[in-house]
């Protein structure tokens, strides 16, 4: 099926697809990713779309991008610079060409390079014909719309409908270029458009036409192949962060034997958590689309009080609204998980872009001293485990837990080695029913957790509330010493979560020149950056913090083992401040707030610079 000549072998390939919001680039990217994953490659993706549902066609603001990285070795990021750029129009070309690797392939939809479209992005003439461009890159212009029209001729479709299939045409070309198996893709199209067989047929025809176009025109001269990655044996699926997070929550609920109630109000990029959880009503999951974020968290509190695992999911602006109620959950000491999928701030900010600027909000965004454990997922698949751990700590310590994700890992995807359900430990939960000796705020010695009691339990009737309460009976107390005691205990309880945090996991060098500290969705870029710096001869360690509150017990020691410490994060230095305050460590800070993840190169450069500083 593949090209005539034997394909060239490549270890890693980065493709960026870019077009108008309506051009279906997200779908094309997702599908190619799926095929790469199914073929055994390691993959990582980065969708990057505009805030508008459909920004004006042909404008820079309307460009929707999808970058995917697939490889025969382990990869950790969607790649800094693409090998291939598919540009569906001049805007997509303009916005992305600067990132393409020298010698990289441009596959451009010539039909869209009309003078009207060129003008929209201030091109006097088609940049595709520019000599300099053609010297730097391998540029392929194809009249995609024409090609698709030819392929769909006779189906009785309108021009508009025909144009809609051009992403599948482009997908076909990529399949050919990378020697992918087309059958599964055809099946998928058939299923996806089962209700609209005409569209199914059109898309399949376009897809095949693209594939054959590559084949028959021998367009690129050569084709490539990326072998299977050496991955641990097991069963895999390709998973997005928000899906993994939902899967983790449902798993935790099942493993705890406690139903889950989500209160949520839609907000980008967290809405998919609501959407996906809503599918699991048969798993005992109840999703409640509340009237606002305050109602959402209040409902989670009510649900937890009622004996369910209360969860709410939101993004930064929504979390800002939940502060008061989160303080209530804290003082009530009930188990709850607040998911914050961060996006670009402040205020409405850059809703569809990624950032890590809610850390201090999660730590301190409520009145009074009201600490809560804060955990962050580091990659799409890791959202699964982080969600389970958040639930576990919440029910064990009877505390709300903030679970942080971000737009980058929420929408990004990676292959996930699916664990056997039996290997996931149960989450022990016991509701108190024993009347004898019940005191509402009596505590477990080890965890300082109070007992969880379901309303409906005879003989344990009691009242809780937001006023300060007696350390034992839970009755309202204005006693000064009692208040001190309760504030101390609540803080101590959160600190005790340290018991459940494994010793700091150091990657790279165990001591040496510099330790690079990060958290959340930047793991991949930092990891590769550190590896490159090590390859460059430096002794570099990497610590990627899963728990931001409390920190692991040994973190101070670990920090002390390096001459320098560099904290990398996508904000203005929030973790950096926490570490300085906690350990008085004279760390350096490398930050970026551009709505974009770190490039590996940026991290590498920052390490070099820090070493010199």
């Amino acid at each position: 099926m593949a090209g005539a000549e034997a394909p060239q072998i490549r270890e890693k390939v980065v493709i960026r697809l870019a077009g108008d919001s309506g051009d279906g680039m997200q779908l094309t990217g997702t599908e190619f990713t799926r095929s790469a994953a199914l073929a055994g490659n390691d993959v990582a993706t980065f969708p990057d779309f505009p805030a508008e549902i459909r920004a004006p066609a042909g404008t820079l603001a309307g460009v929707s991008g999808f970058q995917l990285h697939f490889a025969s070795s382990a990869i950790y990021t969607p790649g800094d610079a693409p090998d291939v750029l598919v540009a569906m129009n001049p805007a997509a070309f303009k916005k992305n060409i600067g990132d393409l690797k020298p010698g990289g392939i441009v596959l451009a939809n010539e039909d869209a390079f009309t003078s009207a479209n060129l003008k929209k992005v201030d091109y006097a003439e088609s940049p595709l014909d520019d000599d300099a461009l053609n010297e730097r890159h391998r540029v392929f212009k194809v009249a995609m719309e024409k090609q698709v029209a030819l392929a769909l001729d006779g189906m009785g479709l309108s021009t508009k409908e025909i144009a809609r299939s051009k992403n599948f045409w482009a997908l076909g070309v990529l399949y050919w270029l990378y020697n992918r198996d087309t059958e599964r893709q055809v099946e998928w199209i058939q299923q996806k458009f089962a209700k609209k067989p005409q569209f199914a047929e059109a898309n399949i025809k376009a897809f095949k036409a693209g594939y054959h176009y590559g084949d028959t025109t021998e367009m690129f001269g050569e084709t490539y192949k990326v072998e299977k990655a050496k991955m641990e044996p097991g069963v895999y699926r390709n998973i997005m962060g928000n899906v993994a997070l939902v899967t983790g929550l449902v798993t935790a609920s099942q493993k705890a034997g406690v139903p889950l109630v989500l209160g949520s109000y839609p907000i980008t990029p967290a809405s998919d958590i609501l959407h996906n959880l809503a599918k699991y009503r048969n798993y005992g999951v109840v999703t409640f689309q509340a009237e606002d974020e305050i109602a959402a968290i209040a409902a989670s509190i009510g649900a937890s009080y009622g004996g369910a695992i209360g969860v709410c999911s939101t993004s930064g602006p929504g979390l800002a609204l939940k502060g008061e109620a989160l303080g209530l959950a804290h003082i009530l000491e009930i188990p709850m998980v607040v998911v914050n999928v961060q996006r670009g701030g402040p205020s409405t900010g850059l809703p569809t872009k990624t950032e890590q600027s809610d850390l201090l909000q999660c730590m301190y965004g409520r009145n009074g001293d009201a600490p809560v454990p804060v955990i962050a997922a580091k990659s799409p698949a890791d959202c699964f485990y982080a969600a389970i751990e958040a639930v576990k700590v919440a029910v064990k310590y009877m505390t709300p837990v903030v679970l942080m994700s971000d737009g980058y890992i929420a929408n990004g995807a990676e292959p996930w080695k699916i664990p056997e359900p039996d290997t996931i430990p149960d989450i022990p939960v016991s509701f108190r029913t024993e009347k004898e000796g019940y005191q509402v705020y009596a505590r477990d010695e080890a965890t300082l957790a109070r007992a969880w009691v379901k309303p409906g339990t005879p003989g344990l009737e009691h009242r809780v509330g937001g006023l300060e309460k007696d350390f034992l009976t839970g009755e309202v107390s204005y006693d000064p010493i009692n208040h001190q005691k309760m504030c101390d205990i609540r803080a101590e309880k959160v600190a005790r979560v340290q018991q459940d945090i494994p010793p700091t996991y150091v990657e790279g060098d165990e001591d040496g020149d510099i330790l690079v500290v990060g958290w959340g969705g930047t793991y991949g870029s930092i990891h590769v950056g550190v590896e490159k710096a090590r390859a460059g001869g430096h002794k570099v360690g990497q610590v990627h913090l899963r728990w931001l509150n409390p920190f692991p017990k040994d973190l101070g020691d670990v920090l002390g083992r390096y001459k320098k410490v560099l904290v990398c994060e996508l904000n203005k230095g929030q973790l950096w401040r926490l570490l300085r305050a906690e350990y008085l460590v004279d760390a350096q800070s490398f930050t970026k707030v551009q709505g974009q993840p770190f490039l590996v190169q940026e991290v590498q450069d920052a390490i070099e610079a820090a070493l010199k500083a």
């Binding site: 509190i301 699916i418 309303p455």
Partner: protein, 343 residues
């Protein structure tokens, strides 16, 4: 959670009293309401562990502390949302929301709106004293215009929220009004509310002796109430003043008018007859807008309508989902979508 067991130890009023000191001002109308509710609950035949009181913040919102049931004194205005989550976790619980006019109609107005339209199966007790009690006497959205309070030394400018019009406009399936001091009437309304499936919204006129004393004197004072209260009874005409006056509808303006039956006995026919289940809601609308002093103030159940409660539908949807999609299966959950094997 088990449904209420059929053979119950008979509870008494005392069973619902906590040892806590009740901390309202002496003479506060809240005491009477507390006593009435404690008297009422045993009649339900519901074990007390299945009863939960959820409140916001305010004097009224201290209520749960005095009830020997489950309870939560939550945060200002959010009790309806807390109650919603609670019922979603356990729809079998009997949940009461206790709230004040500030808690329910000022900061909490939105949650109240959505509670009512969703028709969650709970009972709302709105203690309306037309003032912010706990914060020591600012006007509330239920205060009359021109009210001079600490925050409005020159008189308030806002038109009050009409709680009945608001609730009915929000789609309340049950709206009733009663009075702190009228124990018998309150019990009657509470019974009706308990029988109602869906959100029962009860506005209770409550006297704040300290900051708004006698705000409702016209319906509590024995002498005045004769002329100023219109007690509603299903199927009975809208009569007051010991039956000497009634309310008719002016057909051209569609407005209620007071008919003096002593002067015009012939118009007895015209007097509106109360229908709690009035399909069009017009009666509820008219009652909601009959206000002191132009009209006698209606007391009782304005309107009740039937539609499935939100929580009942959630359960139903769960059953359907279980049937259609099958029992929880972690293997299925984890291994869904396109999977591949690496050996």
């Amino acid at each position: 959670m088990p449904l209420d067991p059929p053979d119950l130890v008979k509870l008494t009023r005392k069973d619902f009293q906590t040892p806590n000191d009740v901390r309202w001002c002496p003479g506060c109308g809240d005491y009477a309401i507390l006593a009435n509710i404690q008297k009422f609950l045993p009649s339900l035949g519901v074990p007390k562990e299945n009863i939960v009181f959820i409140s916001g913040i305010g004097c009224a919102a201290r209520f749960p502390y005095y009830m020997e049931t489950y309870g939560m004194h939550s945060i200002h205005g959010r009790a309806p949302a807390v109650a919603t989550g609670l019922k979603l976790a356990n729809p079998d619980l009997h949940v009461f929301i206790v709230t004040g006019d500030g808690d329910a109609l000022s900061i909490g107005g939105n949650h109240m709106l959505h509670l009512l339209r969703r028709n969650l199966d709970v009972t709302v007790l709105l203690f309306n004293n037309r003032i912010y009690g706990l914060t020591k006497g600012q006007y509330s959205p239920a205060s009359e215009q021109g009210k001079i309070t600490k925050s409005t030394p020159l008189g308030s400018l806002d038109y009050p929220v009409n709680p009945a019009a608001f609730a009915l406009g929000a789609g309340a399936s049950f709206y009733a009004r009663t009075i702190d001091r009228d124990a018998k009437h309150m019990l009657d309304v509470l019974e009706k509310a308990h029988a109602h499936k869906g959100t029962s919204f009860i506005e209770i006129y409550q006297n704040c002796v300290v900051f708004n004393d006698n705000a409702f004197e016209y319906v509590t004072d024995k002498k005045q109430k004769v002329e100023h209260a219109l007690y509603l009874e299903h199927g009975k005409p809208w009569l007051f003043a010991d039956g000497k006056k009634g309310i008719a509808l002016d057909k051209t303006t569609m407005s209620p008018v007071i008919v003096d039956l002593e002067k015009e006995p012939a118009r007895a026919e015209d007097i509106m007859v109360h229908d709690e289940n009035d399909a069009s809601g017009v009666l509820g609308h008219l009652l909601a807008h009959m206000d002191h002093p132009q009209f006698p103030v209606p007391i009782g159940l304005f309107r009740q309508s039937e539609r499935p409660a939100y929580d009942a539908q959630v359960i139903e949807q769960g059953k359907v989902a279980l049937e259609k999609r099958g029992a929880p299966d972690l293997k299925k959950l984890l291994f869904s979508g396109d999977v591949w094997e690496v050996n």
